[in-house]
Amino acid sequence: MIEHSPSVEARICIIGDSMIQCEGSWTISNLAALDHVLHTFHWPVVSELVWDTMKITAMDTGGAVLLHRTLTKLRNEGRRVSVQGLRPDFGELLQMVSSNWSRIDAVKASKSRALSQFEQWVSQKVRQTVTAMAFVGECTVEVFRAITNPSLIRWRAMFHSLELDGFLALPITGLLAFLMGVVIAYQGAEQLQRFGANIFVVDLVGISFLREIGPLIVAILVAGRSGSAYAAEFGTMKVTEEFDAIRTLGLSPIQLLVLPRVCGLVIAVPLLTVYADVLGVFGGALVAFNRLDLSLTEFLSRFEEWVALRHFLIGIGKAPFFAMIIAVVGCYQGFQIRGNVDDVGLRTTISVVQSIFLVIVFDAMCSIVFSWWNI
């Protein structure tokens, strides 16, 4: 019944005054051309049209839609239209189209207005803020429960997280920190040499690295490595209904999954920062030796004398907060996934972007506060 060879074209022509003859295969492959013909067709100006459909050899739903639409249009223009010679099976198809037609019109009419889109946007943002605060609150409650009842702490999961997010991140973090140290020292060396202020490369690398770059580099790496993994992992667990299983077993997903990861990161990130500091400063010292003829001994003695301990402490002090931001954002985004595949990708991306954004905002606020306190 359905002919799929495109060689048989669909045609329409006028015979006499009021007879429209349809021919050929009214199937999807021919519809584009037929649609164009029907749109530009000059219908005879008579009050009664007869459609002869005897020569239609094949028709599918698309063809029936087109026929019905054209007939309806002609009827709406005040003509009387009758169809003759339609094969019974095509007739059934046309009947199916016309009986469903009123429902089609309903769809076309329902387009969303700009205002309602804005409303949706606002309500969505409000909902998001509320759920984010609820999540942070729930985490806080669980933290206090774990403090008062240490047997609730999942040590195994925490050490696993420490290994996965801390130990296994050592090579990449070390390499990047070392390279950053090299880059800073190189850029600084160019400028300092002009003023004969070679020795200040120690202050440049030391202070900037210990205070800002070390913790930031680690935070950005961890956000990309671990925060995204949390979101994707939780999202997939949500899709496979593991969360529901945890809840119905009377356990708390936050206590079981979120706290070990948060604790793991809060321990891992400061440790990684110390490690990154060492390698970054080492990279700087290497360049200082190479480009500025500053021996390692000179570098270290100047470092000891001029780079105050507080810079190191400030850098290290920020690290646990960075860790908390990354872990909570990653876990929260994972929790927001609703059994939906592209949600996983979207939330993973959001978790990385949002955690890096929040880390930098937090860092900026710290800088302002510290400059008020003159430290």
Binding site: M1, I2, H4, T27, I28, S29, L31, A32, D35, D60, T61, G62, V65, L66, R69, D89, E92, L93, M96, V97, N100, W101, R103, I104, A106, V107, K108, S110, S112, R338, G339, N340, V341, D342, D343
Partner: protein, 264 residues
């Protein structure tokens, strides 16, 4: 119901010849052969793990059999993607078990995809055809703008069916169309398949172990088991066979109930 002798004279739509499939050391199909003719509703039945879905994936070229050949519209399934691939792909539609709907698109956009990709129809006409298909699978129109995650399982199944038939294909594959649906909706789905078959002249290949569906809808049934086709024929013919697996399959308490309802 199709007249057997009349159907057999046509050229087959699908020919499966001595297909063998292995996953590692696990043998899924040892030697499976079957032939499906135009215009029939052919069901592939069998217990869990008997390789029904694997066979379907092999027929539509998603997976390669280890041995044997499969011809779809006379073309080797393993080479569907070669040459004039589009001509073959627009001749059949597949409804996957989980729906396979694109979760980033709304229901209407999902259904419209084959039309948008394979034809150059005006958007207006595409919208009308899509809406018609959505209506004809019995989905309410307000669901057209919803995303798959906002639909219930039964609605997703219907939406997937709408997408599979939007090009009015000659051949429709249904993977477990009624699994996980409540009996009322499942029965409605059976009727829908019969109605579409009558209206569009489809050949339907369905994988199912829903005995009601087998009795109600299928013209012929192949029962897979132990890596082979254990029996092939109408349900009444199968019910006569003495193969212990088929016997147990059809004459268990559920089988008897379904047979007494439809099989007389």
């Amino acid at each position: 119901m199709m007249n057997e002798t009349e159907v057999q004279t046509d050229t087959p739509v699908i020919e499966v010849n001595h297909v063998g499939t292995r996953f590692g050391t696990a043998v899924v199909h040892e030697d499976v052969s079957l032939t499906i003719y135009p215009g029939e509703v052919f069901a592939i039945a069998g217990g869990n793990g008997s390789g029904k879905s694997t066979l379907l994936r092999e027929i539509v070229g998603l997976q390669l059999p280890a041995s044997g050949t499969i011809r779809l519209f006379g073309k080797d399934s393993a080479r569907l993607g070669e040459g004039n691939a589009q001509d073959i792909y627009r001749r059949f539609g597949v409804m996957f078990q989980q729906g396979g709907l694109f979760s980033s698109l709304t229901l209407a956009e999902n259904v419209a995809i084959p039309l948008k990709e394979h034809t150059n129809l005006q958007p207006e006409l595409i919208r009308e055809i899509v809406a018609l298909k959505i209506a004809s699978v019995g989905l309410p129109m307000d669901s057209a703008t919803k995303y798959p995650s906002e639909l219930s399982g039964g609605m997703r199944r219907r939406a997937a069916l709408a997408r599979a038939i939007v090009m009015d294909p000659e051949l429709l594959f249904l993977d477990e169309p009624t699994a996980g649906l409540d009996p009322i909706i499942a029965a409605g789905f059976d009727e829908l398949v019969l109605q579409l078959k009558g209206l569009l002249g489809l050949t339907v290949v369905m994988i199912t172990h829903d005995l009601d569906t087998l009795w109600r809808v299928a013209d012929r049934v192949a029962v897979l088991g132990n890596g082979k086709v254990l029996g092939i024929g109408t349900m009444l013919e199968l019910a006569e066979l003495s193969d212990p697996i088929i016997y147990e399959y059809l004459h268990g308490p559920r089988g008897r109930a379904a047979q007494s309802q439809y099989g007389t």
